[in-house]
């Protein structure tokens, strides 16, 4: 094992101080001379035909400047994303409540808000559809193409239906999950600043500065080299700042071009709720079959995502869900069909887990039912079927050695006292409260995979100044997950530079080439590898020069040179990183390099869904202990045991934070979060009505990492951000089943649903 100085250590976060002390400058904190303020004029109804927009009343508001509509676009009215069905600003039709129809610009935020209220959209209501299953029926209101399907995928392996017919045990269930709101602390916002040459600099809170670049250049008809995107300190993303900041920034840019002044556009919480991306609601029907020995022989899945009014990221969210839909098991026969359906609701998109948590909830709930039918302990049943090194996934991808799933399940089994709980049927009752234990297993393809392969590359720029301070520029963002810190550790390790001397900057689109989005748990892997690529030639220079200096100091160069903690040494002779850098500069050696890393090829075939889907996978196992009030159905998650294989851990403290945050966010989705639409109108678009977990709801955590090296990863790391969230809902649902006897097939697992289930069981004498 290589001895490491910086990687694998809990070094302090680079951005801790500015965030903790309030010095960090978010989008809304930036100010520019002559800056104006924009506000959105929004569609008040689910679907409308627009006949005009009048700012007659807005003109009476003091400080009002301009109305900006699709007519102000300088390029085609198509936001370039996976597809181009989402217009920058609608022309004839607006398709969901809260959609930006136009913008108003004014001297103050207050005047802009008042003008947006005063602006009048002239419209006629159109028939609309809010139910994704109805949207897929023949004769449904036409919202997209001929069939309202934004995307569909298939996986066909073996003969799943035949295998099901011959199975000793079969289970089938229908499951639904509701939206999840990202609830980032910082709402969406952007500032566009016109430049003397007609170009623009755009400051924005985003996970994907290069999506913003694509969109602003397209909307404004500008060449890319006249648009600069600067990522501001980003107050949370979770997927919610993947695609939509590009739309917000384009709107700010159009306002800036029209007025010739810097324009700031900051969303308030309610409009952020109403118009920005969400986790997709889902419907699924899952069927499993097993033979008499408890081996899973067949899996059939139909999975539908409620995509909302425009396709945005739905095709790729759906594809990830498709690939993982059968669960992390060896199954010879798999049939999966999946659809992203158009509805007249807010477009859903990326959210930590990206189409996987929904189907994981369904299939892992059902695996428990299958284990019960086969008369097996849920953990034993899983261990009997789990994927391991050398096994083939549902897509036929043969796994490498970087798969520790069985060890993860064994770890949570041991730590949770699973076998002791088994003696009482995973249920302990005290008074009118019952505790239950439940398990789940999950996996997560790291990076963009076959469907996103064209974007799966990243650049880095490493520059060592004369004073030996180091700046690293990358194309992936810090959004709270710790990227600045982890990437600084990788740079420090590769260069043998003191960690304190390395500074990683927020993304500036002119410093590094398009590095794809900051999503899919890919930043450590992609930007990390790009930094290593960039640092290698500099490292060679540094190490050669260090050896020369040590030789000059009288060291015996036959001995091995040690490079650790920013010091180079042979025996008692030593030189510091600073001394070596100074010498490199005096020798006119190149101390600045670019790196580029492209993900290895994947072989997945879209026709049958067979082939390598992702370059590697991260793995997780969860056990949840819950308490259910048997009279009220009130559910509390008491403890979560999580075990994760994410490859090498670069920063244990940050990894622990990611694990805790992911588990808590997964639990919050599973138990509390319930966004409600009533007749196409969002009914609780605020934190008063939309409930998320607080610190008081936080369960106790027990987190284990089992590091299975990924040879192509930076210092053998894989991806961390998402896998802790995915399996939580199913583990909780399985624990609720154990505690209350009720199988809740719908997320969130509200007390109302658990209570209803208990009432039905009373009537049926416990048979249901």
């Amino acid at each position: 094992m290589e001895k490491l100085s910086f990687v694998g250590k809990s070094l302090p976060r680079k951005d801790a101080e500015i965030k903790a002390t309030g010095k960090a400058l978010y989008s809304a904190d930036l100010d520019f001379p002559g800056m104006l303020h924009a506000a959105a004029v929004r569609n008040p109804r689910p679907r409308i035909k627009i006949s005009g927009i009048s700012d007659a009343a807005a003109k009476k508001i003091s400080g009002y400047r301009a109305l900006v509509t699709y007519k102000d676009l300088r390029g085609p009215n198509k936001w370039p994303l996976v597809d181009t069905d989402y217009p920058f600003l609608p022309e004839g039709e607006a398709r969901f409540e809260g959609e930006t129809v136009a913008l108003v610009v004014a001297d103050s935020h207050r005047a802009a808000r008042a003008a947006a209220q005063a602006a009048a959209i002239k419209y006629k209501e159109l028939p609309f559809e809010t139910d994704p299953l109805k949207s897929l029926e023949k004769g449904a209101v036409k919202l997209y193409g001929q069939d309202n399907v934004f995307a569909k995928f298939f996986i066909r392996k073996g003969d799943a239906k035949k295998a099901l017919a011959g199975a000793a045990y079969t289970v089938e269930g229908e499951f639904t999950t509701n939206y999840q709101v990202h609830a980032y602390l910082e709402t969406q916002g952007a500032i566009a600043v016109p430049q003397p040459d007609g170009g623009l600099v755009v400051y924005t809170t985003t996970q994907c500065p290069f999506y913003v670049l694509d969109a602003v250049a397209a909307a404004c008809g500008l060449p890319y080299n006249k648009v600069k995107i600067i990522q501001t300190v980003t107050g949370g993303g979770f997927g919610g700042k993947e695609d939509v900041p590009a739309l917000v920034a384009s709107h700010a840019a159009l306002c800036a071009l029209k007025t010739g002044r810097p324009v700031r556009l900051i969303y308030d919480r309610t409009e952020d709720f109403r118009s920005m991306s969400k986790r997709h609601p889902s419907w699924s029907r899952v069927t499993y079959g097993a033979d008499k020995n408890g081996r899973i022989t067949s899996c059939v899945v139909k999975y539908v995502l409620d995509a909302g009014a425009y396709s945005t990221l739905s095709p790729i969210v759906l594809w990830r869900g498709t690939v993982h839909a059968a669960g992390p098991y060896r199954i010879e026969n798999v049939l999966i069909e999946t659809y992203a359906a158009a509805t007249n609701k807010v477009p859903a998109g990326a959210f930590r887990g990206f189409g996987q948590p929904q189907i994981s909830f369904a299939q892992e709930s059902l695996i428990d039912e299958l284990a019960a039918k086969a008369g097996k302990d849920p953990v034993d049943f899983r261990l009997h079927n789990l994927l391991g090194p050398g096994d083939a996934t549902a897509t036929g991808q043969v796994l490498t050695s970087s798969c520790g799933l069985r060890e993860l399940v064994e770890a949570v089994r041991g730590k949770s006292g699973w076998d002791k709980w088994a003696e009482t049927g995973f249920r302990r009752v005290e008074g009118n409260k019952a505790r239950g234990l439940g398990v789940s297993a999950a996996y997560y393809g790291v990076g963009l995979g076959a469907r996103g392969r064209c974007l799966d590359r990243a650049g880095a720029l490493v520059n060592i100044y004369k004073d030996a301070s180091v700046t690293v520029n990358v194309g992936n963002t810090e959004m709270g997950q710790g990227a600045l810190t982890v990437l600084a550790q990788i740079a420090a390790e590769t260069l043998n530079a003191p960690y304190e001397s390395v500074r990683v900057e927020e993304v500036d689109s002119t410093k590094v080439p398009d590095s794809g989005p900051t999503v899919a748990s890919r930043t450590t892997l992609m930007s990390g590898n790009a930094i290593i690529e960039a640092a290698k030639p500099i490292r060679d220079n540094l190490f050669r020069t260090a050896l020369d200096l040590l030789k000059e100091k009288g060291a015996d160069i036959a001995g091995m040179m040690q490079a650790a903690d920013g010091v180079f040494s042979i025996a008692d002779h030593r030189v510091t990183f600073g001394e070596v850098v100074k010498e490199c500069w005096s020798r006119r050696l190149k101390m600045c390099e670019e790196g580029w890393y492209a993900a290895p090829r994947t072989t997945y075939d879209m026709k049958d869904g067979q082939g390598d889907a992702y370059v590697t996978y991260s793995w997780s196992a969860d056990v949840a202990e819950v308490e259910v009030d048997l009279e009220t159905g009130v559910l509390k998650v008491m403890k979560l045991w999580g075990a994760f294989d994410v490859g090498k851990i670069i920063n244990p403290r940050l990894a622990d934070g990611q694990a805790q945050g992911g588990m808590l966010q997964g639990m919050s989705w599973a138990v509390y979060e319930n966004l409600v639409y009533k007749n196409g109108i969002m009914a609780n678009p605020n934190f008063t009505g939309y409930v998320i977990a607080t610190t008081a709801d936080k369960p106790e955590y027990d987190i284990t990492f089992i590091e299975k090296d990924y040879e192509d990863g930076p210092y053998k790391a894989k991806g961390m951000g998402e896998v802790p969230l995915i399996g939580v809902a199913a583990a909780v649902a399985n624990a609720v089943k154990a505690a209350s006897g009720v199988r809740v097939n719908s997320v969130p697992l509200l007390p109302e649903k658990i209570w209803q289930g208990m009432e039905e069981r009373k009537i049926s004498g416990g048979k249901k």
């Binding site: 207050r110 009279e631 009220t632 319930n674 008063t688 008081a696 709801d697 007390p751």
Partner: protein, 281 residues
């Protein structure tokens, strides 16, 4: 959004003098915890009259037979008062269920009533304490039993510019229990709350007041259940029957927070739990 105009009268006399000169679309600002939310939805008017500095609204007086609670007292201030702990056990028990510590430091008991919400924890508790509400308009006082103050969701008996001076609560020897179902462990608006105050003498119920939150258009007084309990021992059968009566009196709705059927059933569960706690006290 912030209001166009914020005025801060220095005394009640100053307030009444200033009011005629102010825009018609004016609202009182006390703790601001509800008003700020209304403001973010654009429903809080152009002019706020800040009454948080008025000493006259922050009085607390104790007489041999009653307590007077100024409307401007915050929830956290009230929760710490020895007289509240001694004489108003329902209010003391409800306080920890009330929003969050930071909101309790800001929010006033008067504002909790003025907001007119059927889910208000402070109001629900005061109703079971047999409180009256004292209103004031330009020096003219009137007093209503607290339940009569509420006319419907967000509708109260307050007249234009009238404000809440405070609450008059009789001293009576009772024990209370406060049971709340919120959406999470704490810091949530109730799906259902049931508050019971009872005076038990010689093992039988002498007097009971049962108030419920979030299960009717206004804070609900479960009078049939309370009357049923008069003169009875709080045994299991009695508790069960009273709880069923309370359930029958509730008329909840389905909204984004919960479902009508569940809420109704939970009135029975919470009422039974509250009564059992009182029986055990």
């Amino acid at each position: 959004m912030r209001p166009e105009l914020l005025v801060r009268p220095s005394s009640l006399a100053h307030l009444w003098k200033t009011l005629p000169s102010l825009p018609r679309d004016r609202r009182y600002l006390a703790g601001g915890t509800d008003l700020m939310i209304a403001a973010s939805h654009g429903h809080a008017g152009d002019c706020w009259v800040d009454i948080s500095g008025l000493k006259e609204l922050r009085s607390f007086r104790e007489t041999p037979s009653s307590l007077f609670i100024g409307s401007g007292l915050t929830i956290s201030a009230l929760a710490e008062m020895p007289a509240v702990k001694k004489w108003l056990p329902a209010l003391a028990l409800a306080a920890p269920h009330y929003a969050s510590p930071s909101l309790r430091n800001m929010a006033t008991i008067g504002g909790n009533a003025a907001n007119g919400s059927p889910c208000a924890d402070g109001v629900c508790a005061l109703c079971s304490e047999k409180a009256s509400i004292v209103l004031l308009l330009k020096g003219v006082k009137r007093k209503l039993p607290l339940p009569a103050f509420f006319l419907g969701p967000k509708r109260t008996a307050l007249r234009k510019d009238e404000l809440i001076l405070g609450f008059e609560v009789p001293k009576w020897r009772h024990v209370s229990a406060y049971e709340k179902l919120g959406p999470r462990s704490y810091f949530g608006i109730s799906k259902v709350s049931v508050c019971v105050s009872a005076e038990i003498s010689g093992g039988v119920v002498k007097e009971t007041v049962i108030s419920c939150a979030s299960v009717a258009p206004v804070p609900l007084m479960a009078r049939k259940a309370a009357e049923f309990l008069y003169g009875r021992r709080l045994d299991e059968g009695t508790i069960s029957e009273a709880a069923a009566l309370a359930e029958s009196e509730a008329s909840p709705i389905t909204d984004t927070r919960s479902e009508a059927g569940y809420r109704k059933a939970m009135v029975r569960v919470l009422a039974a739990r509250a009564l059992a706690k009182i029986a055990a006290a």
